[in-house]
Amino acid sequence: MALLEAHDVHAGYGPVEVLRGLDFTVEEGEVVVILGANGAGKTTTLRALSGMIATSGSFLFKGQEIVGKDPADIVRLGIAHVPQGRGTFPELSVEDNLYAGAYARNDKEIRADVESWYDAYPVLGERRTQQAGSLSGGEQQMLAVSRALMSRPELLLLDEPSLGLAPIIVKDLFAKFGELNRERGTSMLVVEQSAQLALGIANRAYVLESGSIAIEGTAEQLRNDDSIKRAYLGIEVDEAEHESHEDPADPPTDHPASPPTDHGANL
């Protein structure tokens, strides 16, 4: 049984349906990446999963249906969500942010876990009493990820972790994700525009297009398949002027050929 099975998921905002029958799975211990253009429904997928928006269809997490559950209950089942734009508590101290991350827990090891994040990211330890909003973008992303992991999730949802960060910091961050996955066995579902980096730590990937899965495969396959690369990963080159967080690994001269299908890059 897969850790997470999505079946025929529909979700949206009011009358606008963004997800139109989504199917995918995440296996235990896997890192899965969802790629896709702006507006394809990547963020919506994660928001539907953590219960933030009205959803129909089925998300089976460890065999249990979670569609229709409250976000506060979904996190207790073992899904933690790092939202886009990090979603720290800017007015709270770094330490309170970490404790808030353990809000759903009642055990006695919370203190020790907080300390372990100070060890993992010494800069958080040095700034434990500072307001989270005063940290730099990269530090806030570390804090957001640490906070999400304070709930000891089995599945971590990461929404555009590279957004707004310098390339060197993004590289470190993804290295850290890979490490967390290997050492703790935490499964991850990553939504990312920086396709090359995300595929670097992923086992499998899905390409989302207009609210449903267009292509799926192992990270290897997606990385090496030229037509996929041009059609879906190259999309970002097209939009480089709009996206400041573009993956620098894609040289802007590598202009993509026209996609083979009408893929709606600019929904």
């Binding site: 976000p71 506060a72 508590f89 800017p90 007015e91 309170d96 808030a100 730099s136 999400a148 707004g164």
Partner: protein, 306 residues
């Protein structure tokens, strides 16, 4: 000197009561970034319920107060659940209008039930004075109010900064969406906040009205609410300590405004300032805070997210 000291005592004792209502305002503000204009009316209602139990039913005053705090907490929790929760918490205008509506509703209901005749309120603290020095008198009431409010401040500080529910409060006011994502039940947290604020408000109203020189009537909290709102703004709206200091400063300012109006009668060059005008001190303070230091003395400065 004696008059000055008398004014200081007056100011601190009134200021402590303002601080107590400001605490209730701060509690709601901390969780919702909303000023609950019905806070004073809820507190007034709590005061009357205490009056009914203590004066009409003969229940000992402290027990009557405790029962009223529980009842007003339950009522506020119910109001939050039915009138506040259905609305989008990030859209403030409808919520502000609801709290204003509650203010009018509760006040008129109280007016119908208790009419506008002032009634004597039983004392919470022993009658009499700690000491008297000429015109300066320190009543047991003054000591009682100030000490009670200090204890309240200490307990609330502990609750907000050292407990899990306090962390939930602060998290909800900082980022609603992330609060849900870390597992905080936002609705329940806000309901508890409303209940706690109402209980604190009832205690504040009873502390204020049990002064030997005051009588209870349905409008008695209106003035207090105005000074308390100014006090909360001065203290920074989201700071417990700020509410205390802000309340005491407002009490002192009001007392010295009275001092000034005393002089204005003696000095012919000065236009006479009526004591009635002392409500204006609240507005002057609000104006200066908004102009010069919008975050107040101890308030959290808003931080732009990167």
């Amino acid at each position: 000197m004696q008059l000055f000291l008398a004014r200081v005592i007056d100011g601190l004792s009134n200021g402590a009561a303002y601080a107590a209502i400001a605490l209730a305002l701060v509690l709601i503000y901390k969780a919702t970034t909303l000023i609950n204009f019905a806070q004073g009316s809820l507190a007034m209602l709590g005061g009357f319920v205490t009056y009914v139990f203590a004066s009409e039913q003969g229940v000992p005053i402290w027990i009557a107060l405790f029962i009223s705090m529980l009842l007003s907490g339950l009522l506020a929790a119910g109001l939050e659940r039915t009138l506040i929760r259905p609305f989008d918490p990030s859209d403030h205008l409808p919520l502000v209008i609801i709290t204003l509506g509650l203010l009018l509703g509760i006040d008129s209901i109280a007016g119908v039930i208790w009419r506008n005749d002032p009634r004597a309120f039983p004392g919470l603290f022993p009658d009499g004075d700690v000491f008297t020095w000429g015109t300066t008198t320190l009543r047991w009431y003054d000591v009682g109010v100030i000490v009670s409010v200090l204890i309240m401040v200490a307990l609330l500080e502990l609750l907000l900064n050292k407990t899990k529910i306090g962390l939930a409060f602060r998290a909800v006011s900082s980022n609603l969406e992330s609060s849900r994502l870390v597992g905080i039940k936002v609705g329940q947290t806000l309901m508890f906040g409303w209940a706690l604020a109402a209980a604190v408000g009832t205690l504040a109203a009873v502390l204020y009205i049990s002064s030997p020189i005051r009588q209870i009537e349905p409008t008695f909290m209106l003035r207090v609410l105005i000074f308390s709102t100014a006090a909360a703004a001065l203290g920074g709206l989201d700071s417990i300590k700020g509410a205390l200091i802000g309340g005491l400063i407002m009490g002192l300012l009001q007392a010295f405004f009275g001092y000034l109006s005393g002089w204005s009668k003696e000095w012919s060059w000065m236009p006479e300032i009526g004591n009635e005008l002392n409500l204006a001190t609240a507005f002057i303070v609000l104006l200066f805070v908004l102009l010069l230091k919008p975050a107040g003395l101890f308030g959290t400065k808003g931080i732009e997210r990167v």
